[in-house]
């Protein structure tokens, strides 16, 4: 019994003398509480919506004003006709479009019933459900207001149409997210571990003291991971097509191009991580802590980025998977072309070049 106590005491001593572990043990929970408690939330505010009003009467004006004044919505565009809705969605930032048919107000006053068309971007089904609920709530309130005024029950019915994902399946949202996460993890972890393994085994010493140029060491570490990741990519796309009924709607080549850019960015992050790690364990921990958490939290597939405090929103711009997530959604789910994603491609490309240059420069050709 006493032996147990003594052993436990020793274990405590080990833990408290290891500063890095301590930081993780105590710092992490605090960071998480702060993040989840204050910064990340599932509430969606200021969703950008478009309105098409064929009726333009008092009722629609009131309802539109009510919707616009709600903290959840931000009427970004007023379109002249419903045909423009498709193009507006394709531009990428609209979450919902509301159409009031002609004679809306008349229908309401004379029959007590009217229908408004609502089209929501359901590529993130959780978001779509949430904001359509908000809308339902607003419309229900409006119904009550109207009924109070006229003494008759009023029913304005929002007719919902979920675009890109009519059945509100989870797959369209989590598959791009998983792709980003998996590729990111595999690339950074495998690359950093592979390089650090040479350091740990001591074979790096021999490689350095040879005519073998250091840049070849880097290429030979990156090449297999690049190949494996591309294979992984194909497997995921194949599986999501066959089993999840989620085919690539847009250009396959474009998707692969964007993915390769993302993979190379992750590989160079792995390279960067390997430079300061001395043991494989440190490399793995660095990849997990350093990359997995930000990727999960700041990519946008678990928590909407628009609602994060400014600091986190700015931070998420630095996370490559955030941009890749957009690329995948636009191309794979919405079938959009390069016009919709050129900005994201450029940003990823820039990150890739920048990270590669830095990690190549910092790669240690000596042991110190």
């Amino acid at each position: 019994m006493r032996q147990l106590v003594i052993f436990i005491r020793k274990e405590f001593l080990h833990v408290f003398r290891d500063r890095k572990t301590l930081l993780m043990l105590f710092g992490l929970p605090i960071a998480q509480i702060v993040l989840f408690g204050f910064a990340l939330s599932n509430e969606i505010k200021d969703s950008r919506i478009a309105v098409v009003d064929y009726s333009k009467d008092a009722v629609t004006q009131r309802l539109i004003a009510k919707i616009g004044s709600s903290p959840y919505f931000n009427i970004q565009r007023t379109l002249a006709s419903a045909d423009q809705i498709d193009a507006a969605f394709k531009k990428g930032d609209l979450k919902m479009a509301v159409t009031f048919p002609a004679g809306f107000g008349d229908d309401v006053i004379h029959t007590g019933k009217a229908t408004m068309q609502v089209i929501a971007d359901a590529s993130d089904p959780n978001q779509a459900t949430t904001i359509t609920n908000y809308l339902n709530q607003i419309v229900a309130d409006f119904n009550t207001e109207l009924a109070a005024g006229s003494g008759q029950p009023m029913t304005i019915v929002p007719s919902m149409q979920m675009m890109y994902n009519p059945e509100l399946r989870g797959a369209p949202n989590f598959v791009p997210g998983v792709m980003a996460l998996v590729l990111m993890l595999v690339c950074t972890m495998m690359t950093s571990v592979a390089i650090v393994r040479e350091k740990e085994l001591g074979t790096m010493e021999i490689l350095l003291v040879s005519p073998f140029r250091p840049v070849y060491i880097i290429i030979s570490k990156l090449a297999p991971n690049l190949l494996i990741s591309i294979v992984n990519l194909f497997v995921i796309l194949f599986l999501s097509d066959i089993f999840l009924d989620l085919p690539v709607k847009g250009s396959f080549l474009l998707l692969v191009f964007g993915s390769v850019l993302f993979i190379m960015t992750c590989l160079s992050i792995g390279l960067l991580l390997s430079i300061n790690a001395q043991t494989q364990q440190a490399a793995m921990t660095g990849s997990l802590m350093g990359m997995m958490l930000p990727t999960m939290l700041l990519t946008g597939f678990l928590f909407p980025i628009e609602n994060m405090p400014l600091a986190l929103r700015l931070l998420s711009n630095l996370v490559p998977s955030r941009w890749y997530f957009i690329i995948v959604k636009q191309v794979m789910l919405k079938g959009l072309g390069i016009g919709a994603i050129w900005k994201e491609l450029l940003i990823l490309g820039g990150m890739c070049v920048f990270l590669f240059t830095i990690s190549l420069r910092k790669f240690k050709i000596r042991l110190q």
Partner: protein, 246 residues
Amino acid sequence: MEPVIKTDKLSKRFGPFIACNELTFTVDKGEIFGFLGANGAGKTTAMRMLCGLLGPSSGEATVAGFDVYTQTEKIKKSIGYMSQKFSLYDDLSVAENIRFYGGIYGMSRPAIRTKTTELLEELGLQQEARTLVRELPLGWKQKLAFSVSIVHDPEIVFLDEPTGGVDPVTRRQFWDLIYAAADSGVTVFVTTHYMDEAEYCNRVSIMVDGVIAALDSPANLKQQYGAATMEDVFYELARKAKRKGD
């Protein structure tokens, strides 16, 4: 007097491979017993069986009177062990290491305290009681590791290449400690690659290809093989080994 270690045809097989083949020998109390052999000859396997860490395949053995098949826990309590990879924790202080091992071996707190003071004085480490082990020079670490391995006054202490890489003066100081322990009745079972250290032993056994090829005092062995030094004796026996590749 019952020998401290007694084996009778002790063997260990790993599948078709016979690591230790019918080892039969005894070690008496207070002896310094050198256990030599090339890498792969079966030394480590034999030591592990004697320490109660590995179950034998056949044969019999008792260590400190306890059976290696059925009483391994009692064996572990009666022995000390030190290997070249150190048994001390780098991030604990000298005193903390002593306290830890003393406690693990079941020593009472007052006993640990007394022993700690004794040990520190003996090794000249009084100023370093609070120093983390990783800050100590190699030679001090090794001497400390040895002292810690016998902190609970075991009957036998197993030393696995304890003096690797240390300067010649420290090596001899280490052997002074071994002598002192043997004088106080602790049996020392030691393996080493330094052939001059083989001469410090009362008796030496040399394992070749899983079998004990020779067992006697260094003086007798040198006479038997017409050799001037233990190194020559070892060389004579080991170069005929078939198991060089393992």
